[in-house]
Symmetry: D2
Subunit: 299 residues, 4 copies
Amino acid sequence: MKPSIAAHLQAFQQENRNRGRLLITCPDRPGIVAAVSQFLFTYEANIIESSQYSTNPTGGTFFMRIEFECPDLPGKAAYMQEAFRTIGADFEMNWRLLPLYEVKRTAVFVSKELHCLLELLWEWQNGDLLTDISLVISNHEDAREAVEQLGIPFYHIPARRENRAEAEATQLELLREYEIDLIVLARYMQILTPQFVSAHPHRIINIHHSFLPAFIGARPYERAFERGVKLIGATSHYVTDDLDEGPIIEQGIERVQHHHNAEDLKKIGRSIERSVLARAVKWHLEDRVIVHGNKTIVF
Amino acid sequence: MKPSIAAHLQAFQQENRNRGRLLITCPDRPGIVAAVSQFLFTYEANIIESSQYSTNPTGGTFFMRIEFECPDLPGKAAYMQEAFRTIGADFEMNWRLLPLYEVKRTAVFVSKELHCLLELLWEWQNGDLLTDISLVISNHEDAREAVEQLGIPFYHIPARRENRAEAEATQLELLREYEIDLIVLARYMQILTPQFVSAHPHRIINIHHSFLPAFIGARPYERAFERGVKLIGATSHYVTDDLDEGPIIEQGIERVQHHHNAEDLKKIGRSIERSVLARAVKWHLEDRVIVHGNKTIVF
Amino acid sequence: MKPSIAAHLQAFQQENRNRGRLLITCPDRPGIVAAVSQFLFTYEANIIESSQYSTNPTGGTFFMRIEFECPDLPGKAAYMQEAFRTIGADFEMNWRLLPLYEVKRTAVFVSKELHCLLELLWEWQNGDLLTDISLVISNHEDAREAVEQLGIPFYHIPARRENRAEAEATQLELLREYEIDLIVLARYMQILTPQFVSAHPHRIINIHHSFLPAFIGARPYERAFERGVKLIGATSHYVTDDLDEGPIIEQGIERVQHHHNAEDLKKIGRSIERSVLARAVKWHLEDRVIVHGNKTIVF
Amino acid sequence: MKPSIAAHLQAFQQENRNRGRLLITCPDRPGIVAAVSQFLFTYEANIIESSQYSTNPTGGTFFMRIEFECPDLPGKAAYMQEAFRTIGADFEMNWRLLPLYEVKRTAVFVSKELHCLLELLWEWQNGDLLTDISLVISNHEDAREAVEQLGIPFYHIPARRENRAEAEATQLELLREYEIDLIVLARYMQILTPQFVSAHPHRIINIHHSFLPAFIGARPYERAFERGVKLIGATSHYVTDDLDEGPIIEQGIERVQHHHNAEDLKKIGRSIERSVLARAVKWHLEDRVIVHGNKTIVF
């Protein structure tokens, strides 16, 4: 990693060394907020931002994201995680308590179209994407220069239908080696196997170049052109075994006109894709996205 | 029609008594614009607005819409229509020369949800929709009061699957009697028969309550909710025999969030539907929409 | 009020008889959320929606809006309001505890342009604006028919610069008589005196027909046209003594083009104005807007 | 220039060697389109795209942009330019006939914030900005690496209030040497002298970081934050002697919320600025922008 980017990350970690996040999913019932906020107060934590949502106040599912500032968090985090277990068990919670200094490690997969990758790298250089982009994997060489000049390791792993198993084995080995938390498919035009996907639940973010569920599958811009739509879009979603059917994180659209041909739609689409993917990745890194069934709560 | 609205229409006709439009579709080749503009100049017509598009300059289809001001158009229109035949034949044109004082006559079909109808009526009262809304037909009584208080005849024709043929016969009789040019389905929740549709090619405008081609068919908001999309939309299109597959005139979208339930989506959707339909109808009335295959050129 | 609208309101009050809201502004410090949520838990209230914001976690101002469901709220509300005083005093809170069955009473002021009024009435008829529109006051007669046919009292009070004091005296008398909580200026083209304004702090909502702070003052569309802007807007804000300078609640914009003249901008602007005002009023009625200095927090 | 970008440009010039544009401003009167289209037909030119606008059909100003395909344009262009003089004189036209193979030469001025420059370079690499970016001038060193790695000459010319005359002399010398057609101020934070500006009428494009005419002058994001607006914007305009008062080419906006501080607004603003400036530059390069008084016609 380039020194200037490393400096961004370290400054962020230093500034936020006492900052943490608490993410909760549990059956809704009275008393959850009281218990959680009392817990935080006990540890002298001040709630900075708090969001919650319930699918149904009676018998539904409750979701909460709290960002807090807690004096000496590095010294207390382990105790707090231990102590929260009781509350978690009482309310049947699925929960995570995450200090911000534990920055997520990200791998980006890309093919020949670089606009989404370059957008992510650009936001990252600016200090707007707080993660350690640990490596970039591609089935082509096109991205090497842009990646390596930022000091990020680049791996060229040719991946075709025939050698998919072998390529994925190499990829998985790298993901383990670099201790990757998040995989971003930045227009990586290869299908992943169910084995690969199920090994990273809600940790693979894809950008699909259409306004899902319209134009599922291949050649969406060509099909949008043929259908004569007046708006085109892009969709960022978590990858599941069902192609283009995973939980949607973010979508965006732009207006198009009769004089735009399929090639124009692709160009317009590129700018939608890169901003939609960048927002989705940012929200994931800020722990704003909770998956519930096949939907997302975005706090 | 209420006197104030009739006054709007008459003022429009008077102000635009010398205004005409020329719409052309033909094989593209050099010389079209020269021939057409020379023709108009011969009749002392000044071109006010002109739009053109070609699917492909070599061997494609050429589309043009010209709005012109021509001294004494009422006295010349018939001659001009006769004289243009030669040019039309030379260039194998599909063409129409339309004086603006010949205002289109519109029928609106509606069921129980009135938001789209009311938007059209409201624009119409304001003088923003220049047409003679000659009658409203509904399979329910809900719209009667709002329609009749504007002096528009209202016909309640119960229409169910069982009596469709009979209901359509009555409707067709009314459309003939009122010499209707345009039919607007303002959330008219009944299927029309192929006979009815083919009798009005590119003259029936529908509003579909989804961002087509996503959620074709019934219950689009419920399905959008289940899929967890982050944007919902509406689509206005010409009706063809293929359900929700006709040429799209206009689309619109709004952002939704995880806390919106299917009922919320419907409410948000209502405001998209009414503005999308109103724009589509307005553009049709201004002769801005040319159908080409299953697409529209919107000038 | 028309029986169908009264039925909407009563259904809302009945469905939400146990629903309440708590609005808080106070100096930020740890323990606020814990104290408040513990309080609500004591009364068996379940938190349905909760939003908070702090201008600065250390030494800033803290804002919170909680919506809760509390069994037998009608029986408990007075006790809860009494009991919350201690917490309010401890944390130096500015707070309100509001049962939803106490529906706000609204007066709409309008002049000759009716689009904003009609939008509000339309949302209201649909059950999307939960308030008692108790009266409409106008310096013209234009709105009478639309208002009275919904069973709302309409008062024509001519207001000109010369008789402003007298007109305002009559208006204030009516506002007292009808026990009005909110005044909406739906394109009411008269200036209000400082006395009138200061009698209703943060309870008068205006719609300004420009994207403030651009084009403060008169004739904004003409000036937007002269400046050649490519987007026009509208702004809804609370009225203060400084013309067009009050806290902004909501803004909206639309794209315009070189061929639009000032009259076109007005038409496009009308549709922005009505949706922006409707959103601002809706958020106010849902107690989502907290004023802080000259800004708003919109939860 | 990098070989891959040079290849883009050459391919464009080769593909469009027979493509030209005709731009016209003149008093409106009948016969203009007939004369112009007859002229083009004489030279066997096929009209590909045509746009026109009149401020007022009777006595107003008429604007037209035609893109045409003309066999052997390189051989005919000089003749055509000569021959068009008669028509130009007859109709008192201000006109330009521009072959597309004569690519415009652009200079970009930048300071320390690079997002706008990088966006332009990125679009340019992609072949979406068809110009020869001949040099970049900056009063800082920050942009050197990004510029030089694309093979573009970079000139560091320190510019402060004290040495403005001297710095501008150096800049003007470079602009002459490189035969520059267009100057883009991509967040160049220095004021230009009236001499510099008047030497390049409608050929300097600036990006202002606010939705003009709101927040003219310095620190627009801070002032937007203080005013509590709900939307922020950016404006691209031609530079004239009046600061931030030149003809607007394009504007864009994004929604902001109460929790965004001035720093957040800057970040959000950066993404608006870069897309607004890129669109304005693209339209200028495609000869789509005609200046009329202090406004632009954008075809």
